[in-house]
């Protein structure tokens, strides 16, 4: 445990990280993204394509976590790793459940987009309407 009198450069978090590690992380990330980009030209079926991009992205992310951020279970880094592992499910829950819920909501509440381009409908056609049109008088039925 270092105190503020000791040399801060001796701190464990400074000591971690080497030239090699950072360069490897760079190369893996760049290669993965490059390969994923090239996959667009391959015209794979969408599911295969998506799986490929997801897999390559995961490899890039893991290499960054391990080599850039230097996450491991050493004394200096353990709490960062733990907090990340505890938070990752929240990313997945938030995005996953949202996408799942909206896939059914869209299907059940939206008219198909083809209907949108029905002729004869345009926003400012009606006076007193439109996003910031002049306000009209209220009607009070009696």
């Amino acid at each position: 445990m270092s105190t503020h009198h000791a040399n801060p450069l001796d701190h464990a978090e400074i000591r971690q990280g080497t030239v090699l590690r950072y360069i490897v992380a760079f190369i893996i990330s760049a290669l993965c993204m490059g390969a994923a980009m090239l996959a667009v030209q391959l015209k794979l079926p969408f599911l295969h394509y998506a799986a490929l991009v997801v897999a390559l992205t995961l490899i890039a992310l893991l290499s960054q976590a391990a080599l850039f951020f230097g996450l491991d279970i050493s004394r200096a880094q353990i709490w960062k790793s733990v907090s990340l592992v505890l938070t990752v499910p929240l990313f997945i829950i938030s995005v996953g459940l949202t996408v799942w819920a909206f896939s059914s909501l869209y299907e059940r509440t939206m008219l198909p987009p083809s209907g949108v381009t029905q002729p004869g409908m345009s926003a400012p056609a009606v006076p007193g309407m439109g996003p910031m049109g002049a306000p009209s008088q209220p009607t009070l039925l009696q």
Binding site: M1, S2, T3, H4, P8, L9, H11, A12, E13, I14, R15, G17, T18, V19, Y22, I23, A25, F26, S29, A30, M33, G34, A36, M37, A39, V40, F46, Y49, A50, V53, V54, L56, T57, A60, L61, Q64, F68, F69, A76, W79, K80, S83, L84, T87, L90, F91, S94, V95, T98, V99, F102, Y106, M110, P113, V116, T117
Partner: protein, 208 residues
């Protein structure tokens, strides 16, 4: 359970040595937590992007496939990864207490980041010039917001780097400066991670 142990004559009740806490690791851990909360901001944005990038959200405007430019995006990826690499190498120089090395790494990182931002601005500017600004459709609102939020983080990082260059020159590697450099390293690496996600999800998935 310790609850039941008895106190003996040599039981130590007070611990004067325990007073000094490791301020650098408290600060880096605190900053790491901030980044997790920032990651949740991007989670919210990604969830919104997923919801707002269906054909229903285009309002007749361009969709993902028309908006993204994956080769330009790939150059951006290389630039931001290069910037992170440069900053990370600066932190290797920090181990040796090499002021010049650290400063050089930071300056190169800033250069790469500026080029990255240039690409991004060019992209968004082109869209706006073609009448496809963020007020065109919900999808474009979302696209602009996601890219701009990441860009703002980058600009903030650039500002932070400027401040650190001055502080290194002025104070050398004190505990405060070192803790800030470490936090900035995490912050910068985090921007690359977010960009990789944006590139994979918005650009590559969108271009299909």
């Amino acid at each position: 359970m310790a609850t039941m142990t008895k106190a003996g004559p040599d039981t130590r009740l007070w611990n004067p040595e325990a007073d000094e806490h490791d301020s650098i690791s408290a600060r880096t851990f605190g900053f790491w937590l901030y980044m997790l909360s920032d990651a949740l901001i991007f989670t919210g944005l990604f969830a919104s992007y997923a919801v707002l990038s269906t054909p229903m959200n285009l309002a007749g405007g361009p969709g993902p496939a028309q908006v993204v430019n994956i080769t330009e995006g790939f150059w951006q990826t290389l630039l931001i990864l290069g910037s992170v690499l440069s900053y990370s190498l600066a932190s290797v120089a920090l181990k040796a207490g090499n002021k010049g090395g650290v400063a050089l790494g930071i300056v190169v990182a800033m250069g790469f980041a500026a080029a990255f931002l240039g690409f991004g601005l060019h992209d968004l500017g082109g869209l706006m010039a073609a009448g496809n600004g963020p007020d065109r459709s919900a999808y474009l609102s979302m696209f602009f917001t996601l890219i701009a939020t990441h860009g703002l983080h980058m600009i903030f990082g650039l500002l932070w780097m400027l401040v650190m260059l001055v502080q290194i020159a002025r104070f050398g590697f004190t505990a405060d400066v070192v803790a800030r450099l470490l936090n900035l390293r995490m912050f910068w690496q985090f921007q690359a991670t977010v960009w990789v996600l944006i590139y994979a999800y918005v650009y590559l998935m969108g271009a299909y």
